[in-house]
């Protein structure tokens, strides 16, 4: 090892990465500043003036102009409600495809593949019409419906279940357990990692989802945060409310940012496993 030479070679890219990262964060810093500093001071003063005029007023205003508390609740209900349903559907379907024999397996496998090829985002128009027929507009189940079957999750679980040793399954079966009991007591406890990976991807994806909820929701009781934020951006047709907008932006984004900071490693791994969402 040539220690001397390696050290600057090692440090240079880190410095470069750090600098690059800082530049990358500029818009976020700007948003922070815009949320905590009144707009006139932000535009006319320097950092010193900013520090003197820090305030939380914009958050109070944003919070009062749009019912963000309700939007939070809605987002949590729809994102976690959907996740709960998905965990059931993907475990069951993944298990069937991984461990059970039945006729038409290839065809059913192909059906799931179709969903990987055709993301739900592209099908907003016909799916909207379906919701009209079902009377599911402006409802949680309407928001969730296109995602309840998840090909990505099903394949992820199928892959995980395939790696579970046959002996474990056989032991349980010979004890007289039925397949549902086998799945619950034997398979799910050893596949927590993929379940977690799927959960992180699903939460991030749906927490951030916008167009579909925008189209199908109309009442404050159902609308998620992203739609609320976009309406705030739209309704304030005056740029003078930048502080409110920035505050609203942070209100929506901060929980996810905190989540990432806490579980950065799992997050990275989950997204690697996600591939095609």
């Amino acid at each position: 090892m040539i220690a001397q030479r390696k050290s600057w070679q090692d440090i240079l890219p880190i410095v470069a990465l750090g600098a690059f990262g800082l530049v990358w964060m500029v818009p976020l810093f700007w948003t922070l500043a815009a949320a905590f500093v009144p707009t006139t001071e932000l535009l006319n003063g320097g950092p010193l003036v900013w520090l003197q005029s820090l305030h939380f007023g914009a958050f109070e205003q944003a919070w009062s102009v749009a019912p963000f508390a309700r939007f939070y609740l809605n987002t949590i209900i729809w994102v976690f409600g959907l996740l709960a349903i998905q965990l059931v559907t993907i475990s069951l379907a993944g298990f069937a495809l991984a461990r059970l024999d039945f006729r038409g397996k290839d065809q059913i496998f192909f059906l799931f593949l179709t969903q990987l090829m055709v993301p739900a985002t592209v099908l907003i128009l016909p799916n909207y019409q379906t919701l009209v027929t079902l009377g599911w507009l402006d409802s949680y189940q309407g928001m969730m419906a296109p995602y309840i079957a998840s090909a990505f999750g099903t394949f992820l679980m199928r892959q995980a279940f395939k790696q579970v040793p046959k002996e474990l399954e056989e032991a349980a079966r010979s004890d007289g357990a039925n397949w549902l009991q086998v799945l619950w007591h034997v398979f799910l406890p050893v596949t927590r990692a993929p379940l977690l990976a799927f959960s992180i991807v699903s939460i991030t994806y749906h927490w951030n989802e916008f167009l579909w909820p925008l189209l199908i929701t109309s009442s404050v009781e159902v609308r998620p945060l992203t739609v609320g934020l976009a309406l705030l951006v739209q309704s304030s047709e005056i740029g003078a409310q930048w502080d409110q907008l920035s505050a609203g932006t942070l209100i929506v984004a901060v929980p996810i940012l905190v989540l990432i900071a806490l579980v950065q490693k799992q997050f990275t791994n989950s997204f690697l496993s996600s591939g095609i969402k």
Partner: protein, 299 residues
């Protein structure tokens, strides 16, 4: 083994086949209603046009309109340009950032955070942030450029800059995502391959071109596929930042579907554009299939 009653299956479904169908049922129902049926119904819709409250059959008229109207032609061009840019970005940008992240210290999560944070933020938030960055007279971007003595621009209102402007927003948000895949690929390479190359005094570019690039080619293939899929679905930032303007310069295919289908209720035109998107996705899937077949064949 404890077997709670709640997990008891009905006695008819003893055979593993019946159990399998039962397990698959919830997924299949929703697949049928929200993935398969919409494909059928959108094809039907693309052959019809709405008149008042009723639908009339118009044959291929909607497609002819899309391909002959200069404004929808522009939407297609915008989309192709956007997807191409994002393909290049996801591959080259993603790889370069990954190489940077992969240097030296293994545990530099702190330095990766900026790139991960943007992935996880909602596009609506990201777009709102950039709305303020791009604002022509009070935005930070023009302030910085002005400070450096560079010309200021009216970013989102200039037809030549608006689409690249949207792309930068997407880049900012998603570059980290694509670099993650390359990072994983790089970390799975044996250390000595990269180190040997360094000691022999090869330049960075030679190393990149002749060693790294071939070794990560499966990842490149994968990243380009999801890069295209991802960018085809982008619409939130169009909605927040430009609403397709100025003069149609930033209308992308999916935004066009939204505008035609949900603002003006020209469901026929919107369905036809959806069918075009589906055709592109299907083509990609076939290419993918052929590629995978070939790889399996030659391995």
């Amino acid at each position: 083994m404890s077997s709670p009653r709640s997990l008891a299956l009905p006695s008819i479904v003893r055979s593993s086949g019946a159990v399998a169908y039962l397990f698959l049922l919830p997924s299949l129902v929703f697949l049928a209603v929200f993935t398969l049926w919409p494909i059928v119904s959108v094809i039907w819709g693309s052959l019809h046009a709405r008149r008042g409250r009723s639908q009339i059959f118009v044959g291929m008229d909607n497609f002819e309109r899309i391909f002959s109207d200069p404004f929808s032609q522009q939407v297609i061009l915008n989309t192709v340009g956007y997807v191409t840019l994002s393909l290049l970005m996801s591959v080259f940008g993603g790889l370069l950032l990954a190489i940077l992240m992969n240097q030296g210290l293994k545990n530099i999560g702190f330095f990766r955070f900026p790139f991960l944070a943007t992935i996880a933020m909602p596009m609506v938030s990201v777009a709102s942030i950039w709305l303020f960055m791009y604002s022509p007279r009070v935005g930070l971007l023009n302030d910085i450029l002005g400070g450096l003595g560079l010309p200021r621009s009216n970013w989102l209102s200039d037809p030549d800059l608006a689409l690249p402007g949207l792309f930068v927003v997407y880049l900012w948000k998603q570059l980290g995502y694509f670099s993650l895949f390359y990072l994983a690929a790089l970390q799975s390479l044996p250390d000595d391959v990269l180190e040997a190359a360094t000691l022999d005094g090869v330049t960075f570019w030679q190393k990149l071109r002749h060693i790294i690039w071939p070794l990560v080619s499966p990842t490149t293939y994968f990243v380009s596929t999801i890069g295209v899929l991802n960018s085809l679905q982008q619409v939130d930032h169009v909605f927040v930042l430009t609403q397709g303007g100025p003069n149609n310069a930033t209308s992308l295919a999916l935004y066009y579907v939204y505008e035609q289908g949900f603002k003006w209720f020209k469901t026929g035109i919107a369905s036809a554009m959806t069918v075009i998107l589906l055709a592109v996705l299907l083509t990609m899937a076939i290419l993918q299939f052929v590629y995978l077949e070939r790889r399996v064949h030659y391995q």
